[in-house]
Amino acid sequence: MNKLVLVGIVFVTLLLGATFLMLGDGVGANDTMLQLGIAGAVAIAVISTFVSIKYIRQMQTDTASGELADENWDGIGEYKNEPPFGWAISFLALTIWAIWYMLAGYPVQSYSQIGEYNEEVAEHDKTFAATHANMDAATKVEMGESVFIVQCAPCHGLSADGIDGKAANLNKRLDAVAVKNAIIHGSNNHLLGSEMPMPDRNGLFNANSGALISDAEINAVSAYVSNGMSGSGADVFAGTCAGCHGSDGKGMAGVAPSIANYNPELVSNILAYGKKGAMGTMPSFNNLNKTQIEALGAYVTSLSSK
């Protein structure tokens, strides 16, 4: 075997080998576009390497020949050779194919990229629904984590800690700042899935003292809630908040959400409506499907209940 061919084989193997190494199992995935893409890469590497080698070998072995034309420019002559047969026949064949394809092949196939997309989505949705019809709790959390990393981590961080207060820390139901903010300004984020606001401090009576909630009481109850419903603000909570949020803070259906812990329903409402608060604004998500939302709910709930 010629040395050049060997070099060619080594080059192609290295290039394609390194590509496959990077892609890992991805190559085997059931994805025709990816496979065609890789087939294209293989074709580029192999064809151009070996065609070049063919001509380089001609440089090494052949001799120039043919009938020279009469003309000559600045000393450059020109042979009257015929074009290489393989080249000419490929050109002709491709041209005929192209004319056929544009006039007959393509119109008959009546391809539509949106049509193909719709099929792809329908297919995907069908298998997705079938595969996840009866997910167990652990799988839900696992799926939720995977969706979270793609959709939520850019704001909440990979460990869901809220990146230094830039978004909510989901490892904990509420920070003192957030509670304080809700008490002072009220809250109107559709957390119950409906337009059911919480009043601001001018609407919050402490039944124990018979007066509007005071600054000291706000601080105390904020600490109490953010400490996981424990500590010294218990009496304020019982007097002011328990009426709506329940004595354990776990909320009451249709009245107020849980502020003691996360639950999938709360998460799903936040995803549907977004949330604006002390830290910033969380966008709503309308491109997630039901299963994904449930999974996110399970995942977020699991974070603070470890």
Partner: protein, 230 residues
Amino acid sequence: MFHWLEKHPFFFAVGVFVVFSWAGLIMILPTFTKASQPLVGTVPYTTLELAGRHIYVANNCSGCHSQLIRPFKNETDRYGDYAKSGEFAYDRPFLWGSKRTGPDLMRVGNYRTTDWHENHMKDPAGIVPGSIMPAYRWMFTKLADLDTAYAEQLTVQAAFAVPYNKPLPAKDGGTNMVKLADTLEGAKASALAEARTVAADMKDQDVKDLIAQGEVPEIVALIAYLNRLK
């Protein structure tokens, strides 16, 4: 025949030109009027948004970001609904880009918010560890050019009949209207009002100070533009 052409360069050039240009016409002309009809819900840019768009162009964000969601499941999962021609009817120039060093931004307004952009533009890697996007800190103090944005609005209204001050059909069946002031002062006043609502969600002190003085820093205009990408 070809040899004759090679002795008569003028006709040679004519031949080249003919062969070259007719394909160009076929490529461009057929869909020209159809592709430019706005989709329901697509509205022209406000002064502030347009100023933001100019900043996007000046900093060549398109060098790293596309604004074109292709009809593939993985793209619609990541970025939202695929792109439709009519959505770009007011985009001069189009900003599809040809390279995704960073993610697509065509609908970034759906899943990022003002405060996030504020943090991110100041220090991308601080928000998204591993990010290679440059920081844009100067935008927090440099002022946006509202005059040029207004000049462009007047130009497109006059030259291309872009429908400012006209009720336009909205997606929910109602109508939308984008106002365009008669005077530069008016345009700047409404841009400032819009800037205030954006800046209300921001924390940067320079930005707050400038807005209080009646000035609009670049970052506010840029975020107004990013928020409108939906």
